[in-house]
């Protein structure tokens, strides 16, 4: 089966959202996806993109069939003031029925190359500790678990807390 890895285009937005929801379902978090196609379009393909995306599509068995998007990765660039630019892998997913074909490795290879070309010193991402297959997938490839090894804890302020914090200080 032939597959093609390419940069996402605006027309891919419905497929990107579909795959985001599929992955969320796999993590039993489907109800947490509030992102819309409109936001994905504006935020990824406007003047200052908040994210970039690469997708993997396969050709159907009959040449008349449409190509099908079966995997994607969403990433953006971050900054560590000690060592500089990093490539942050926000989302990475291959549909269940297309796994084991090297599509995932191909996506990671593409992104690692991009990281090196853009002078990033590392590629960063987050994995849920109970997602054993993913944890092993990344550790086999040399990823370090900074939460385990260095004690990094990820903290988040949601919208309501942001609004409270943004109010002028009473001090």
């Amino acid at each position: 089966m032939e597959y093609k890895l390419r940069k996402a285009e605006p027309r891919d937005v419905p497929d990107i959202l579909r795959l985001v929801k599929e992955l969320a379902k796999y993590e039993e978090m489907e109800h947490q996806v509030t992102l819309t196609e409109k936001e994905l379009l504006e935020d990824g393909f406007g003047d200052t993109p908040f994210y970039h995306c690469i997708i993997t599509e396969i050709q159907g068995e009959k040449s008349s069939e449409d190509r099908k998007v079966v995997g994607f990765a969403m990433y953006y660039f971050t900054y560590d003031p000690w060592v500089g630019k990093q490539l942050y892998l926000e989302e990475f997913y291959v549909m269940d029925e297309y796994r084991g074909l090297g599509i995932g490795s191909g996506i990671l290879r593409n992104l690692s190359n991009l990281a090196m070309k853009t002078r990033c010193t590392g590629m960063m991402f987050v994995v849920a500790e109970n997602n054993e297959p993913s944890v092993q997938f990344y550790k086999r490839r040399g990823a370090e678990d900074l939460s385990q090894e260095e004690g990094w804890r990820l903290f988040r302020f949601d919208k309501d807390s942001l609004v409270k914090m943004a109010a002028p200080s009473e001090e």
């Binding site: 953006y76 090196m116 260095e150 004690g151 804890r153 988040r156």
Partner: protein, 207 residues
Amino acid sequence: MQWRRMPAAFKSQRRRRSWKETRLSSSAITTSSPHLRSMDFSIRAANLDDCKDIARMIMELAEYEKVSDHVKVTQKDLEQDGFSKNPFFHGIIAEVPEQHKTKEGHTKIGYALYFYSYSSWSGRAIYMEDLYVMPEFRGTGVGKALINKVAQLALAAGCHQLNFTVLDWNKPSMDFYLSQGCFDITASMGYHCMRCEGEALEHLAQL
């Protein structure tokens, strides 16, 4: 307010122990300085000319933690990476008037570095990479004012969340942030921060 520092990845256990020892011993520094309580300070967007002081404060922090050899980013890198056409980060600076400058003559006494990120579930987000206040200016509201500003910037840009990391032994900082209404995502969702760098990154690029 206690500062929080997200370090670059370490390799050896020895360096981590050194981190922990220096950090715990500094908790006494953050008591309020009475003569500074009524101090004026201002918070503003960082510009190219601030890179010298930002680099200084990054190094101050690393030197205090005895890991200054880990800092590879230079003032020139900060200028290029933060103030070119496509910046990789943004900064805000806390400044005091001349009469409150440090004995070395510095008026820029705190900073925060942040960048825009994206959640595949909820969209636009902001990531606060660094928040630092020079020791003699802590307990005066500077840190709180810096994080307030980052929160304002997040909302103005349509962000739905502000993310950052705290080290697990930095209990005062963790307690402060939790009291301000944030969640520990590592605890509640089991999310671990991972990094592929150096040889591992090169190897991934060749698979």
